[in-house]
Each structure stands twice: as structure tokens, then as C-alpha cells.
């Protein structure tokens, strides 16, 4: 409360954060729409592959199970936190395919001769992963803003009580 001289300052800051939160919500929804577009295109290309190669060529039966030997993800996230806002942020890390370090290429689960449609599907999902990281970052900011709004509302109420 000591940070603010009067209620006008609190209201001004609240307005700014409300506006910023609305912009972040808009950004998140538009990222989600883009993810939807990409996954739909990806799904369509998975369907094309099934049509050309057979219905069971791209399915959960090709995915590794608990009985398979361990392997590591080609895409991981690096977590950082912003000093100023103390907000957690994520960045995508890509690892090269390397059998010695158990970084295997997942496209090989679906056969040796890789159809073009499966390669296109992979590209679409890779972009969707990038956008997912972007969305996660935006949502961290939204959650942080909600926390800040709650605190500012409390301070605003204290000022209102003093004024009464």
C-alpha cells in the first residue's frame, strides 16, 4: 500500500493490467486457433498416409510402449524465469538425432520408406509444438497478471475503507 499515494494511482495501474490481460487473452486464443489449423492439416496428412499405405501403418500400434528400450525426446523445454516480473517462461530446445545418445528419429517407427504426406504431417506438428510453447508463455503471463490484479484489488479496498 505504501507504493501508492492514493486510490487514483491504484485504479490507473489496475486499468493498465486489465488491458494488458485482455490483449494476452486475445493473443492466446489466436495462437490456439493457429495450433488447431496446424493439427487439422497434420491429421489430414496422417489420413493421406493411411489411405496410401494401409489403415494400420500410422496408428498407436507403432508408438513405443513401456516394454521398449528407453529413448529421449528430440524436443524439450528450457525453463527460465524473468527477474523483473518473476514470471516463468519456456523456450524450445531441439536435439539432433543420435542413436548413441538414444535420440532416435520417431518417423522411423512408421516404416523405412517414408511417404511425403507423413513428412508434411511431421512439419505441421513441429510448428504446433513451437506454438504450444508460445501459448504456455502467454498463459504464464495471464496467470501472473491475475495474481497482480487480486493484490491490487485488495489495496484498492484498503484505500476505499480509509476514504469512508
Amino acid at each position: 500500500m505504501d507504493l501508492f499515494k492514493n486510490i487514483v494511482e491504484v485504479k490507473g495501474l489496475l486499468d493498465k493490467i486489465y488491458l494488458q490481460t485482455l490483449e494476452l487473452i486475445e493473443e492466446d486464443v489466436s495462437i490456439k486457433i493457429n495450433i488447431e489449423k496446424l493439427t487439422n492439416e497434420g491429421t489430414l496428412n496422417l489420413a493421406k498416409t493411411r489411405y496410401n499405405q494401409g489403415s494400420n501403418t500410422v496408428s498407436i500400434t507403432q508408438l513405443p510402449t513401456d516394454d521398449d528400450r528407453e529413448f529421449f525426446a528430440l524436443k524439450t523445454v528450457e525453463r527460465t524465469s524473468d527477474i523483473n516480473s518473476n514470471c516463468t517462461q519456456f523456450a524450445l530446445e531441439c536435439h539432433a538425432v543420435d542413436k548413441d545418445s538414444n535420440h532416435i528419429d520417431p518417423i522411423n517407427w512408421f516404416g523405412v520408406l517414408i511417404p511425403q504426406s507423413l513428412k508434411i504431417a511431421r512439419e505441421k506438428y513441429e510448428k504446433a509444438i513451437e506454438l504450444s510453447i508460445e501459448s504456455a508463455n502467454v498463459r504464464q503471463k495471464i496467470a501472473k497478471n491475475c495474481e497482480l490484479i487480486r493484490k491490487l484489488k485488495r489495496i484498492k479496498r484498503q484505500f476505499e475503507k480509509i476514504e469512508e
Binding site: 493439427t39 498407436i60 523445454v77 516463468t88 504456455a136 498463459r139
Partner: protein, 123 residues
């Protein structure tokens, strides 16, 4: 932007239908660790809600997972568990699936944010 305290190599996990899991694993997020625990779960029409809930809770507890991608229709089935998760990590991301387009009004974080905008507060 000032950044610090980098922690490397955390995972994205996936809970969703066949195409979502196949697609995102094809994109390279899949992993089976030393304890033979996968970071994905395929949900079909025969999967019980309790199984999805248990898997979600297991992923939340794992310290090597930073982001959980879950189809919004699966998230709807375990909404109470997702709503109760308020920690920033792991981040929960509700994604659309081929049969269920994204609906922002169902999203936990966006509903929480919407709750901040009451007419009383905007006076």
C-alpha cells in the same frame, strides 16, 4: 528481457486421442525414461476417466515434465483436477482435437482470468 536460473531439458507430455499423440510424438516430444515411464497417454472411447485422472496426476508429480498438452475434450472430463492445479509448473495447455474445436470459454486459465473482470471492479 533479463533471464536467469536456466534449468535444462524438461519434457512436454501429451494426453490425447490417437492422432494427437501420434502427431506430437512424430514432432519429437515423446520419451520413455530409464524407469520405462512414457510421457504420453492415448485416450480412446474405452479409456476410463479415472485412468486419465491418474495419468494427469502422475505427470503433474513428475519433476521432469514442464508442459502438459491435453486435448480439451479430455480436459473436460477431469475439469475439477485441472481447475485445482494452480502452480505455474507444469503448465497445462488445452489443445483442440480433430473432433473437438478449441473453445476458449471452457479453458481453465481463461475462465480464471475472466473471473477477474467483474462489473463491480471496473467502476
Amino acid at each position: 528481457m533479463a533471464l536467469h536460473s536456466a534449468i535444462k531439458g524438461k519434457l512436454l507430455s501429451v494426453i490425447g486421442d490417437e492422432d494427437t499423440c501420434v502427431g506430437f510424438l512424430l514432432g519429437g516430444v515423446g520419451e520413455i525414461n530409464k524407469n520405462r515411464h512414457p510421457n504420453f497417454m492415448v485416450v480412446d472411447k474405452n479409456t476410463a476417466v479415472s485412468e486419465i485422472e491418474d495419468c494427469f496426476k502422475r505427470f503433474v508429480k513428475r519433476d521432469d515434465i514442464d508442459i502438459i498438452l491435453i486435448n480439451q475434450n479430455c480436459a473436460e472430463l477431469i475439469r475439477h483436477v485441472i481447475d485445482a492445479h494452480t502452480s505455474p509448473v507444469p503448465a497445462i495447455l488445452e489443445i483442440p482435437s480433430k473432433d473437438h474445436p478449441y473453445d476458449p470459454t471452457k479453458d481453465s486459465i481463461l475462465r480464471r482470468a475472466k473471473g477477474m473482470f467483474s462489473a463491480e471492479d471496473l467502476k
